[in-house]
């Protein structure tokens, strides 16, 4: 049922689609992080903005990907910009929620200790609150990245798709091997990126490593 030779014969294409999949994952996540940092700054200053921001991000998150890709076609066309806008919009809810939760989760005793040691507000924020919030912040980036890896496959309707290209072409050609390769590679990519973020978190927060 599985045609192992197909993989060898199509190695070039698999590599091309790997780059496409990585590009369509990392660019939206990176843009999403920048936007979410801005939104988080707004929320930390004006708490009232949290409700409206999460409701808006929640509505964006709820819109099915095929619908969002389709709705963007008259605006930006059938291209990577379309996919990047749509995929970026899906990262916002997860990222903003986790960024704010991370900062909110810093224990009050820590803040008092920082104040007592004479930290200014900005020093307290950057040297105390942000580092302590990092595990929750990175957890958000991990979930956003894995979710995006899966959603990229749907962008096959825009003529892109990354590994989604194999998933769909396998269906059209009735070749289960192609579909399986696309599906498995997508899972592998998500898993690898997830491990990288776990490694990044360990490196950035050495104090949380001691407990084994």
């Amino acid at each position: 049922m599985i045609d192992w030779g197909w993989i060898g014969r199509n190695a070039d294409q698999i590599i091309d689609r790997t780059w496409e999949h990585l590009f369509l994952t990392l660019v939206p996540v990176a843009i999403g992080i920048v936007i979410s940092l801005g939104l988080t700054a707004v929320v930390l200053r004006w708490r009232r903005a949290f409700g409206p921001i999460t409701v808006t991000a929640g509505i964006l998150y709820t819109i099915p990907s095929l619908a969002l890709f389709a709705a963007l076609i008259p605006v930006v066309g059938l291209n990577a910009t379309n996919a990047i806008i749509a995929l970026t919009s899906y990262t916002l809810l997860i990222l903003v929620r986790n960024f704010v939760a991370g900062i909110d989760g810093v224990p009050a005793a820590m803040l008092e200790a920082a104040d007592g040691m004479g930290y200014t507000r900005s020093a307290r924020f950057w040297r105390m609150e942000v580092p302590l919030a990092l595990p929750v912040i990175i957890a958000g980036i991990r979930i956003a990245t894995i979710t995006t890896v899966g959603l990229v496959t749907v962008s096959v309707v825009l003529g892109l798709g990354g590994y989604g290209f194999f998933i769909y072409r396998g269906f059209q050609a009735r070749q289960i091997t192609q579909t399986l390769v696309g599906l498995v590679l997508s899972i592998v990519l998500a898993t690898i990126l997830d491990f990288l973020f776990v490694a990044l978190q360990r490196w950035l927060t050495p104090w949380s490593r001691e407990r084994r």
């Binding site: 099915p64 619908a67 076609i73 979930i143 894995i146 899966g150 309707v157």
Partner: protein, 228 residues
Amino acid sequence: MVWDQVVDYLQDPATWSGPGSIPVLLWEHIWVSVVATIVAIALVLPLALWLGHTRKGADIAGVVVNIGRAIPSFGILVLTVMLLVQWGVSVLSVWPVLVALIALAAPPVFTNTIAGVQGVSAATVEAARGMGLKESQLVGRVEVPLASPVIVEGIRIAFVQVIATATLGALVAWGGLGRLIVDGFSVQNQGKVLVGAFLVALLAVIAEVGLSIAQRASTPRGLRPRPD
């Protein structure tokens, strides 16, 4: 000019009645999504309740969450359809899509149910046991009510995801509202595509909001935040 196409499509009588019209596709989309979610609940709820009750499920739930997130639902949908078609199920029937949607709805219900039941405080469970409740009563009268907001949240996540993935069903020959988007694409009718996209988005948002309200309503009075 895009708007002209939208208006043209909306004024076409075939939009509102007959095969492939909005009411037919909308109904198809809704019933398949509801049936898939209910079947998934029926399949996994007993096991999840038991795993939560015996407090054995934490590891299993964690694995399911991680794997579930990494698997693209589009891939599962396409693969399930291909396998069932190979076994002789018609690609035009609803079955392949329905089976895939059940598989996709199951993990959120499963993991949230385990997490919800395990989240019930051990002291509460002990107290109930001390008052002489049997194990089955403990599940039905203590754990399920206290876990219900988390369980309903799982159902909400599952249902909204099913609605979204059912849209993709149109890419693999089945109907539902995704038909408007996919067919509109192939005949270059942007009006049809946009109306389809709008309806799909609206349906998903309504499901999300509706089940959020259900989630709040299912919260036992004792767990609700006290109004100041």
